[in-house]
């Protein structure tokens, strides 16, 4: 298996009236073909920014450094035309709130026609609709929804439509940014099951961005844990959950409340602000295993153990 997506030393900084915000710092991550990678972190840790950086969807006040290689191509060096070609065709993205992601003035049908024509102008509307119907059937949306406006659809239907829009060209990678956070637990499970089955059918990889550790455990092959704009720990899902190495991952897993929880645990303190420069390990103030070196020197991620685990911590 070859690397489909390679991020190397990727950093994203936003210029804001309060000063620079280092949303993503020095992130390196690889996604192999045909896998689901979970990118997990708490709100404001930079995970959504990372997802957008891959598609170059960041607002104008963002600067990106490092490199993004997708199927061997340097994404950051592509011309606007080339990146546009890539989006939706090879690299697709779905978002958190399906309610606001479809143009309220356009029928569902027109979203499909527009997307197909954007990449293949020669296609007639009739053909485009046939294609749309096929994809919609794959995501289990009745084809009469094509004639409706977004506001006439339920939240689950809208997210299915969003997914269908992504599937039109059988992309190699789907970035799913909190795709189920706005949905209820049963719908959430439905949508993720759907994603999982489609993934195999369309031989597609998924980058699943979420704050929900349960989802990651259930659906991902590999997982990257993000904290304060950096990746704290990354590895294959089962060993990482069985034996977390980074103190943050340990704390996070301990603080999960599930049906087996008998005692509560929370990580002390609060996540740091990403405003301005920081030195040392960002988790330092909250860490129960901190050492003197942690305050001043950032621990470069290194491979630890036999399961190809990358951990950014001075303990290892």
């Amino acid at each position: 298996m070859s690397a489909l997506l390679e991020l190397e030393h990727l950093s994203v900084t936003f210029e804001t009236p309060q000063g620079p915000v280092h949303a993503v710092q020095d992130v390196s991550l690889t996604i192999e073909g045909g896998s689901i990678v979970g990118l997990v972190g708490e709100s404001g840790c930079g995970k959504s920014t990372l997802g957008r950086a891959i598609l170059r969807l960041l607002p104008e006040n963002a600067t990106v450094a490092g490199s993004v290689r997708f199927a061997g191509r340097d994404v950051l060096a592509l011309s606007p035309k080339e990146i546009r070609d890539l989006r939706g065709r090879n690299l697709a993205m779905i978002f958190q709130d399906p309610m606001t992601r479809l143009n309220p003035l356009m029928r569902i049908r027109d979203h499909f026609i527009e997307t197909i024509r954007a990449h293949n102008p020669a296609v007639k509307s009739g053909q485009a609709l046939e294609r749309a119907k096929k994809v919609l059937a794959d995501v289990r949306v009745p084809s009469d929804r094509l004639g409706m406006y977004p506001h006439e659809l339920s939240g689950g239907m809208r997210q299915r439509v969003m997914i269908a829009l992504c599937l039109l060209f059988k992309p190699a990678l789907l970035i799913a940014d909190e795709p189920t956070t706005a949905l209820d637990v049963i719908l959430e499970a439905q949508i993720l099951q759907l994603l999982q089955s489609i993934m195999h059918e369309y031989s597609m990889s998924v980058l699943l961005i979420t704050h929900n550790l349960g989802l990651v455990a259930e659906f991902s092959d590999r997982v990257a844990v993000m904290y304060a704009g950096r990746i704290a720990e990354e590895g294959a899902t089962p060993p990482l959950f069985r034996e977390p190495r980074h103190p943050y991952t340990q704390g996070l897993l301990r603080s999960v409340i599930d049906l087996e929880t008998t005692s509560l645990y929370s990580v002390p303190g609060e996540p740091p602000s990403l405003l301005g420069e920081t030195a040392g390990c960002p988790f330092y103030p909250r860490c129960d295993k901190r050492m003197a070196v942690c305050e001043t020197v950032y621990p470069e991620p290194r491979l630890v153990g036999e399961d190809h685990r990358k951990v950014a911590c001075h303990l290892y």
Binding site: I186, A189, A217, P238, R242, S255, L259
Partner: protein, 422 residues
């Protein structure tokens, strides 16, 4: 048994749907959201009672009804035996000293234009200071009020209180704001606290802290909680008893330990099944209910869960629109869609209560009649069993269901469950 602190009997809360002026004139104007549709439960003093359900199931509406933010359409609310269903302003004012609300978003619950000290002082100015024997002492003395605010801050761990008094909400951290909101509620010395999704907005790593804090307060002030959440895991940890809600009704209610150990209602089972478990070694293929929660304006007949229920019976409430849903469902498969194209399109079908019909106009209704009979038969199962008859009336093909069996909450193995299976 002692008298419960709070009793809710057959509570119904309907909201009008804002349809256009003319639509209301032309009929169809009695459209109402059946937010809460006949809910009965009680909470004993010192208990934590959980209402669990997905968004839109009516749990937050119950919370708002309890503190008089929303009027009950019918039913009864009793607080310590006193009827507070439609309180006059004075009763409501007193009621709000005894029942208080904690919101899911502490930041949004504080006015950004008011210092947090003022936020609490304002409450004390309105209600007076809590006296030694549960009474209220009205005071004009700003010093006394400030003293009382300081004490409350101290109680919730905002120390030194004088430091926090003049802070605006946006100058405090999330955790501190939660403490302020708690302090504001506690300043009234309430007996029942309704906590509406108190941890839903919080990050996983700090969620437990809020829950611990709530438990501490409970012990310290002898509080009773109505704990509202969509998260079954949190509810399991926090609650003594729970009620599972679906579309405005409690479908299963009992001791938390009993229900989690052995859920009875298919919906409860589905919810428990759907929760993602943070243990990659226990990946199992889940069997999930179909579809989504239907619109609460027209809740399904019979058991509201019947269109999605994996254990559904013929008597659960099949009705006209389920035929349309069945057709849609079948036609997701292209070959079925082609084979059964004659019966479609779906929008030609019209549902009216227990009846589904299709106006055929000049076309011969015969083939459609045959086809729909075959489809119903082929789909088999409980739905087919509920069909009273398929007929042709003039140019109309009609599918008619028999009325559902009466659905009443029943005692079953230590809990109340509303399901025909039991």
């Amino acid at each position: 048994m002692t008298e419960p602190l709070l009793e809710v009997r057959d509570l119904k809360v309907y909201f009008p749907v804002f349809s256009g002026f003319v639509q209301r004139l032309l009929g169809g104007g009695d459209a109402r959201v059946h937010a809460v549709d006949g809910v009965t439960f009680s909470i004993a003093e010192g208990e934590v009672f959980g209402l669990v359900g997905e968004s839109g199931c009516g749990k937050s509406t119950i919370a708002k009804t309890l503190v008089g933010l929303v009027r009950a359409t019918s039913g009864r609310l009793l607080f310590r035996g006193e009827d507070v269903t439609r309180p006059d302003p004075k009763t409501l004012f007193r009621l709000r000293e005894r029942i208080q609300l904690i919101y899911q978003d502490a930041h949004a619950a504080l006015s950004p234009a008011m210092t947090v000290g003022e936020a609490i002082a304002d409450v004390l100015r309105t209600h007076g200071l809590p006296g030694p024997s549960g009474n209220r002492v009205q005071t004009k003395s700003e010093d006394a009020i400030r003293e009382a605010v300081y004490r409350t801050f101290d109680d919730v761990g905002l120390r030194p209180p004088a430091f926090y008094y003049n802070k605006y909400p946006d100058e405090l951290s999330g955790g501190q704001k939660q403490r302020v909101v708690a302090a504001r509620v506690l300043a009234l010395r309430p007996q029942l606290i309704v906590a509406d999704e108190p941890v839903a907005m919080l990050d996983m790593s700090v969620r437990a802290r809020m829950l611990e804090f709530l438990m501490e307060l409970k012990a310290k002030y002898h509080l009773t909680y109505l704990f509202i959440t969509h998260d079954l895991a949190t509810a399991k940890f926090m609650c003594d008893r729970i009620g599972i809600m679906y579309l405005g009704r409690i479908v299963e209610m009992g001791r938390a330990s009993t229900i989690y150990a052995d859920p009875k209602h298919p919906y409860t089972k589905a919810l428990l099944e759907a929760i993602p478990i943070p243990d990659p070694e226990r990946k199992t293929k889940k069997i999930l209910p179909r579809g989504e929660v239907p619109n609460a304006v027209w809740p399904p007949a019979g058991c509201r869960f019947h269109p999605r229920c994996p254990a559904v019976l013929a008597s659960c409430g099949w009705e006209g629109r389920d035929v349309i849903a069945l057709l849609e469902e079948r036609w997701l498969s292209p070959e079925l869609a082609e084979r059964e194209a004659l019966a479609g399109p779906v929008k030609e079908w019209e549902a009216d209560g227990l009846i589904a019909r299709r106006q055929m106009g000049k076309t011969d209704p015969g083939p459609v009649y045959d086809l729909i009979r075959r489809i119903l038969l082929e789909s088999g199962g409980p739905m087919a069993g509920a069909v009273r008859k398929v007929s042709i009336e003039g140019t109309v093909v009609v599918v008619e269901f028999r009325p559902p069996d009466l659905l009443v909450p029943k005692e079953a193995e230590g809990r109340v469950v509303e399901c025909l299976l039991y």
